[in-house]
Symmetry: C2
Subunit: 437 residues, 2 copies
């Protein structure tokens, strides 16, 4: 009996050419993380539910894949942060702080199936965790990682938006609207869509005093260069201590972001971003590709006061970011901003047209020793079928080796892109020499 | 309330230095797979239970992590072969054959918790899938991949054992013991432990005729070089067609293994290996580190007639191998055959001892541009604490940059292994030049 071969909806499964492209993106991200000295980590996909859900609640909890095996209540991780918190708490004595780690791995959320929404997806995270304290300058290094990363992925026109939650929280304290902060943020967030007057009206409906509404509007309509924005924030004359701390931190972060080599064209103080209201406590980041705003933020994160409060008494402040690689890949692919050009891992295909397989196989071994990915077409087919295989897989170079080639110790290297053929001696080094790097 | 930070038993979670070592092994394996032109694949960890269990049964089924989410009956993959079968059946029209793919990923088996047994573990697989047919020469390429792989992992003294299931099956047909084949294999398997006479007795108890017992004993006691073994098999005079086909295939495979560059010291015809009785139908492989036989086979596989019979009518013969990386890593680490020497991804740590962070940070950016993994110690600590961090992480080179260094544009590069310090200009290129590759 035949079972129809199906893949679960919401689970990305790629064809080889797309998979190669996906792996390339993943490797680029990993390479940048390593350049900055982040350590690799690979925690289990399954955890005890009591660990994963120590904090959770609300939407996240509903989406979790949770089940029992024997007597054990198990859940699939829904992000890489909670497992990191457990890991750091558990291995505290064996880690050096600041603990800088990256993790690239799959996480699981049983969301409603929807185009472009994935239930299994890669997150690519970095975090810097301090033991008791962590200098604000770390918050300035993170955007420089984002900067290198997005450049590495091939984009130049992007903006890393930076804010500090203390500024927002301080403002809400100052105008005595702390309890309304979530609702106010939600309204503020719509200003681009509905305009300033509509925002004002909604704030009135919420019961915010006229004077406070003015302060909010003054605040969110601050424009100008990064330095002008910082100056305008100062000029608002808000004495609130948290506001002033936030402003001082943001000023420091902006100063050092530049030292870390991020040009002002690629980062921007943006007072409206908040990144959820209960987790981040200081600096927050979002990253937008300017010509493709519809993608949303492709890399986000921020500073948190205490990573692992559910698992340890130690105070572990941290700062980090996450890239949702699966969704990013899907969107970039859909917009044709990335293209699956490589259909093969082989740089060269050796096509034997002889009974004597010794020479073709030996040549393949020699080429591999020279770090050239080499495949030998081993099946017994007509030349046409073999060339069709090379063509379909878009293997860059093809060598046909027949008895004549073996006798004369000469071979033609065919560049499959240009059609150009170059005759060389049947020696790995000579073949390598004419292949483009 | 504090929840004790625990990891599920049977789930490997490594400290950073071990994780670096694990990643290095994984990368070496991947690199070798790519050298041979295998394509990457990354199928979901979750599949419909009807897909994963289309064939399964017995022990495997009991071990599976299976649960319902909404109305969907879901299972976690227990190997990479069944998902491959589904994938090839599903994407048949979009693949080029022979389809050569590698996959390195986690699989799940809820086995009894036991030291060195893992419920979540990496498999590193390659398979070559033919459309309708697949030349026997492919069976000779696989051992050359194993050979490169084990060498790459740092071992020289290992043996790839090769057999062909048709030889065994043909022998059992010849002596009319097909229905007893499983029981006979189990008895044969014990010969090293219990000796020839005890094996004979057990075969008698099973009801095997005296003459057949002699044939079995003659068969399994064949010794000598690879060529002598093949000759002895010929000399047995077994006319059975399946036996002769198997012998012809094995002879061909041995011939080409040599062409593929595997020396006779690293492979051996072994007539006793069978690798489970219902899946493999031709060539089978096992790989042993000769000084560490207790590890069991570190890389196994073989030829199967039909990959995806549960999902398609197409006949898809294949040959492949699998490495259980998690267990291999665990065992090699336990035996101290591999050692976690790298504790950091950073090649160099810059230790600022100045208020002026511009120079240290700029230098880090310049070093990163030269492909040197660079970390800046960003927290405000005493020099002693900073050096202790470098020491604990075993970062190879340390640069202390204070105001004097900035003024004089000179810096001492400290080799942390030898203690040696070299003074150079405060320029990335000069620093790189004195770092060992």
């Amino acid at each position: 009996m035949i079972t129809e071969p199906r893949t679960l909806p919401g689970f990305m499964e790629l064809l080889p050419n797309e998979q190669i492209l996906f792996e390339q993106m993943k490797q680029k991200i990993e390479k940048v993380y390593q350049r900055f000295g982040f350590l690799p980590l690979d925690t289990p996909i399954l955890e005890l539910s009591e660990i994963l859900l120590a904090k959770a609640g609300g939407e996240t909890e509903k989406q979790i894949y949770r089940f029992e095996k024997g007597d054990t209540d198990i859940s699939m991780r829904f992000d890489l942060t909670v497992p990191l918190a457990k890991y750091v708490a558990k291995n505290y004595g064996n880690l050096s702080f600041p603990f800088r780690r990256y993790q690239i791995g799959k996480v699981y959320r049983g969301e409603k199936a929807q185009k472009g929404r994935f239930r299994e997806f890669y997150q690519c995270d970095i975090d810097i965790i301090g033991d008791g304290e962590l200098g604000i300058i770390n918050d300035a290094e993170i955007p420089s990682v984002i900067y290198q990363l997005i450049k590495e992925l091939g984009f130049d026109d992007f903006t890393i938006r930076i804010n500090n939650r203390k500024i927002l929280n301080g403002l809400f304290e100052e105008i005595e609207q702390k309890e309304n902060s979530v609702a106010i943020m939600r309204i503020i967030d719509k200003i681009d869509k509905i305009g300033k007057e509509a925002v004002k009206e909604e704030l009135q409906t919420l019961g915010v005093a006229e004077k406070s509404i003015d302060q909010i509007i003054n605040f969110i309509t601050i424009t100008g260069t990064n330095d002008e924005k910082l100056q305008s924030l100062q000029n608002l004359g808000i004495a609130n201590e948290m506001f002033q701390t936030g402003l001082a931190e943001l000023t420091e972060v902006v100063k050092y972001i530049r030292v870390f080599g991020v040009p002002d064209t690629n980062f921007s103080v943006d007072l409206t971003i908040a990144r959820g209201l209960d987790y981040y406590t200081g600096t927050v980041y979002e990253t937008f590709l300017n010509n493709y705003r519809e993608l949303g933020s492709v890399c986000s994160g921020g500073r948190y006061e205490n990573l692992a409060e559910y698992y340890t008494d130690k105070k572990l402040p941290g700062v980090g970011i996450s890239i949702g690689l699966t969704r990013l890949f899907y969107k970039l692919n859909e917009l044709e901003l990335i293209k699956a050009e490589k259909h093969s891992m082989a740089d060269i295909l050796i096509v034997p047209m002889t009974e004597n397989m010794d020479k073709p196989i030996e040549l393949a071994s020699s080429l591999r020793k020279l770090d050239i990915n080499t495949e030998v077409y081993l099946n017994d087919k007509k030349l046409k079928a073999k060339m069709k295989y090379a063509d379909k897989l878009k293997i860059p170079y093809v060598l046909v080796i027949g008895d004549d080639e073996i006798t004369n110790n000469q071979v033609r290297v065919k560049n499959m892109e240009t059609g150009e053929e170059t005759q060389v001696n049947l020696i790995a080094e000579e073949i390598k020499a004419i292949m483009k790097k």
